[in-house]
Symmetry: D2
Subunit: 221 residues, 4 copies
């Protein structure tokens, strides 16, 4: 990415401040696909934008995670008719009102081919951990590492990545698998996440994580 | 602030997407002062930077909130000796290790004059809500609105503001009362918060909120 | 209720230990109706038992809360097809498997006449606060007191009452509005809740709370 | 234990209702020692009672868990001077006020020989998960099973066991390692927990879990 001028200054400053370390990953990764629902991937809906690339790359990761026996978890947003839960968020982002229970906007983009057996977290907040059973699900699946993809980088990805860090899960964010409505917030949030909460990595690194973990599990068996 | 070029584009794009609404505030605000501890306000410590202005303006708000009978809540960071809680965050931000229980770095900056009777939330994560009793405290105090100040804009302020939105509290962020190590992340996070989670406001607007709420309570009595 | 012999001994012992205080209630109560879904109120379903009395009394409270302008919130249990969230609980209580998304067992008992505008919390754990947006909803509604009714006393009522205490909400449990499969656990859990977490009260006391709070609000207006 | 008459009836009824299943445990257990602080184990403090047996048996488990390389985690209660967090709980249990920051009552009973390197969760609620980083700690330690001991059975043990179930951790409660002020609530809560949330087991079963898990880890190495 063609970074704004301040990225280099801040990055150098951060090094001297002990900011921007790298994470050790585990052997039981899960792929968490955040909000690649029709309302986000189809520009015809208010919250939507062009995420074709993100969907395509994520679909590849989905197939690889599945093939190597690692869990794939999807999230979507669906507000209740009363719209009370998520009230403040909706006041700031009224465009999200179309993400309501029963609307076609909340369905996961069919290009991702979600299987019925793959968990779907329905949320009413930016973070996939907030007011959901995601933390419990990760403990049940004995996951120890997350790969997070989806949209938007400056919204639900950022919020979910911060909470994954807090919840104790080292997290990789493959850069080409997250997207946003505008390039500015996309880049600024990748910068923050990589400095403070997760490792922003290449698509290939994320692919390799699923393969390595799989090989290790097989070698042990 | 002298905004990057992309701010205007993104702002216009957001309007057409139903992003960037304004909040209605309540009559029982609390002031939440995030991480204005010595380790952040004194540049001699790794996580520190120049926050003199932020401390000075926040101290004014503290006095006004107190004078008008509204709660003031402080947060700091203090990791346990085992450093297990907050493990991933510390791997990304090893500079935070100095914020450990018993260190002078964790004390609230004396310029803020925190009273013993004012709650101090000790956290080991970016958000003041994560792994703490803050939500319970707000319910007990019957708070209905938050004013959030402190540091850093791109770290604990952003994380706390997102969680305040999720927790159901309309939140004001007075721009001159939050600060960061670099201007770039500071501005980009103000932009995101104002678009999606909280109202970024002037110092005077925040001052007025405490006065108005106070007047209303008195008028009712 | 005809208490077991140990109730008196324990109650006396508790007095000397500073256990069993009484709560101050507020002026903005909400009625929380826990799990009065068909799967619990109709004995034909595995988790069901005779709760006719509980449903009838709760329906009276629902009407009174509504009439006095206070929120009524319902909960039900609905596991996803993958049954991963709630996995440990289902291992202990396989009878709950019938409470699955789309089953008629998860519908709120029609005798309660739930309105579409009244929030329905869907949960996969004993407590109505766990993995749900209930805390956020209460903040949004500016509730300051809870009346909790439903089933079962030794299961979801107990778990929800403990979490309401933790969340900072004084709670009343009207004795005739909670029920269980067996009298022993019902009584033992009323004893514990009244000693440690909530006030177990008469039906009339709960009715009066909604009236008083309503009168107070009107007088202020 | 000499069970009340209703235990048998309820147990039989539960079988027909699909209640009272048994759990599968994992290979990475942790020992969670709840509230064996001086204020609970020394009868001179208001919340205290005779827990000598519980402390002695738990101390054995602590040594075995340590010897086999499994984590030992302690909890205590310590309210802040403002006593705002935990406000409702303290209104019900004013006897707990002695559990305040800095008081000798909050120290872990020295007979347990807690090491500085062993995490200490400080809580202000009944459950060890509520308003603490315990869930994050368990994820960081990659724990998959809990053994929970301490006091009191009808208070913090019950609340923590319910939350452990919700959090996705199969849990064993060794009967001789939990205790209470009175036998009635002790037995009734063991009954409920064993029916719905955890496996109540013998002391030897808990000991064996740490040995087995250790052997398995060694065999794999």
């Amino acid at each position: 990415m063609s970074s704004p001028a301040w990225f280099n200054d801040a990055r150098e400053g951060y090094v001297s401040k002990g900011i921007g370390g790298r994470l050790s990953v585990g052997h039981r990764p899960a792929l968490l696909v955040v909000d690649l629902a029709v309302g986000f991937t189809d520009d015809a809906w208010a919250p939507g934008c062009d995420l074709d690339n993100v969907v395509e790359r994520t679909a590849e990761l989905v197939r690889r995670a599945r093939a190597s026996g690692h869990p794939v978890i999807f999230t979507t947003i669906a507000f209740a008719a009363d719209a009370l839960e998520g009230h403040v968020w909706l006041a700031k982002m009224p465009g999200l009102r179309c993400m309501s229970e029963g609307s076609p906007a909340v369905a996961i983009d069919p290009r991702l081919g979600r299987l019925d057996s793959e968990p779907l977290i329905v949320k009413r907040a930016a973070s996939a951990f907030a007011g959901t059973g995601l933390a419990s699900l990760l403990a049940t699946l004995r996951v120890d590492t997350l790969v997070i993809t989806g949209a938007t980088t400056s919204g639900c990805i950022r919020a979910t990545v911060v909470d994954a860090c807090t919840a104790g899960y080292p997290t990789l964010v493959p850069e080409s698998c997250v997207g946003d409505r505008h390039q500015g917030p996309h880049e600024a949030n990748l910068f923050d996440m990589n400095a403070k909460y997760a490792d922003v990595v290449t698509f290939d690194r994320a692919l390799a994580l699923f393969d390595e973990a799989s090989a290790e599990v097989e070698a042990r068996a």
